[in-house]
Symmetry: D2
Subunit: 158 residues, 4 copies
Amino acid sequence: MARLHVDIALRWGDFDAYAHVNNAEMLHLLEEARIQAFWRRDEGTGPGAATAVLDARPGAEMIALIARQEVEYLLPIPYMRAPLDIELWVGRIGGASIEVCYEVFSPVGVTPRMLFTKAATTLVMVTAATGKPQRVPAELRAAWSSYVEEPVAFTKRG
Amino acid sequence: MARLHVDIALRWGDFDAYAHVNNAEMLHLLEEARIQAFWRRDEGTGPGAATAVLDARPGAEMIALIARQEVEYLLPIPYMRAPLDIELWVGRIGGASIEVCYEVFSPVGVTPRMLFTKAATTLVMVTAATGKPQRVPAELRAAWSSYVEEPVAFTKRG
Amino acid sequence: MARLHVDIALRWGDFDAYAHVNNAEMLHLLEEARIQAFWRRDEGTGPGAATAVLDARPGAEMIALIARQEVEYLLPIPYMRAPLDIELWVGRIGGASIEVCYEVFSPVGVTPRMLFTKAATTLVMVTAATGKPQRVPAELRAAWSSYVEEPVAFTKRG
Amino acid sequence: MARLHVDIALRWGDFDAYAHVNNAEMLHLLEEARIQAFWRRDEGTGPGAATAVLDARPGAEMIALIARQEVEYLLPIPYMRAPLDIELWVGRIGGASIEVCYEVFSPVGVTPRMLFTKAATTLVMVTAATGKPQRVPAELRAAWSSYVEEPVAFTKRG
């Protein structure tokens, strides 16, 4: 069971008038974790993670559109300065789609460790010019294969 | 089958570098639709909708925390100036929780009408001071009872 | 002395953990006011304001880049549901640039009327493909000429 | 001449439909740089910078309200993954106010180094409970004194 760990710094702007991380801003945090884990780095800024193979830059030939997201907010996230510890893995790789799964934990070193949020995002690979789905490239399947495990177990579905 | 209709104006800041409404910003749009439909208006600014009975102001005794969200992004939303037409209803009222359902449509008057997004949010009523769940007040059950129908049918679950 | 009046609805996400409109989000509100006042509407959604002549859509030949902004935050903006009443005018039209001025007031009908914020934005017209400044088109000068008055008077410069 | 250097990671959500960092989001980046430089860290997460003495947590006795901001956007900031290199210093310390100055540069190691943005923020210290200005504490004056230099030189004022 292998998971990627990504540290994501909170911003003051992520908090709402209840002084908790806002529910919509959580999706921006997951977006950043996903990009850190799976998207290609700038040229010339180091080798990057072995899993960072997707090209999301405006102008890329293939883009990953978001088809679906599911989020369980288990505990409110209070104001803190240390970065969240986000675990990511791949729940499924289909023909043209990938399910990215997340568990969002308290910062490394904080005890007891708290699980704030569980989530999953389904990405569909499409040709940017046409919007048509295309097969998940073999390069991605290979790069991500060691991070495939059971999808996140949601417990709050109605 | 009764649904509330709320017009939600897009902002330039809702669009990302693909020139589509960003996936996380969609949750801010649903948040605004939910507030328009169900939260109490400022004093002195008119009677408001009969369903607008929740008090979300910082300092309120009871607040509605978000426990869960599920979103299906069916079509990318391109840049447009006219407001989205968001339909809302209540999928379930439980002891301490409420499921708000949404379908996000193209602006009124645009043909053909397009369904961009389907979503559901589970809210849990809690006492602000303690964070403990509390029973959905009878006033809310009464105000919202005519907008209860089947929960949104999601089709993209893995 | 003619000014444009634009109503801008606040969103829950505009408020930060102090329960005030966040300083950066204020620029998003000004952005929306500016777009309402000066940017062309979607085709087919009515005649729009006589001043709404700029084309900001991704893909437009000329775009307006922001060169400078100055903002004085006079009073914190508390949580409210009614839209802010934003007055806009043009402080200067130069060769390739335009200064848009703003005063952000409490919602129409609230007494006493409060001035929350004063601001100015300098826009430079550039050719999208090259990024080179280009002359403010005659059509814009004509459309905006009746809204030119003295630039906003800032009082807090060091 | 001493300046603080803070690395601020960009997020995908900072970019707008022109694929540049949005003008309002720039203020969120400055906000994060300011907090990194001058606000107290969480207890138990290390000593922090000698300048990080302000307490911004909701519930703090003294808060720093933003009275004024001025920003010159010199170059559009394209999509990049490496963090911006933001230099900060104090332009003035008055009775109850402080002017924080910024220059926002390309990521460390990118050549040629580019100056994207210059900005200044005036903060006023107020008692949270009353909103009344209060004197900048001696502790802050001492902690920040070695980072006081000339205010940023703006060149685009009308």
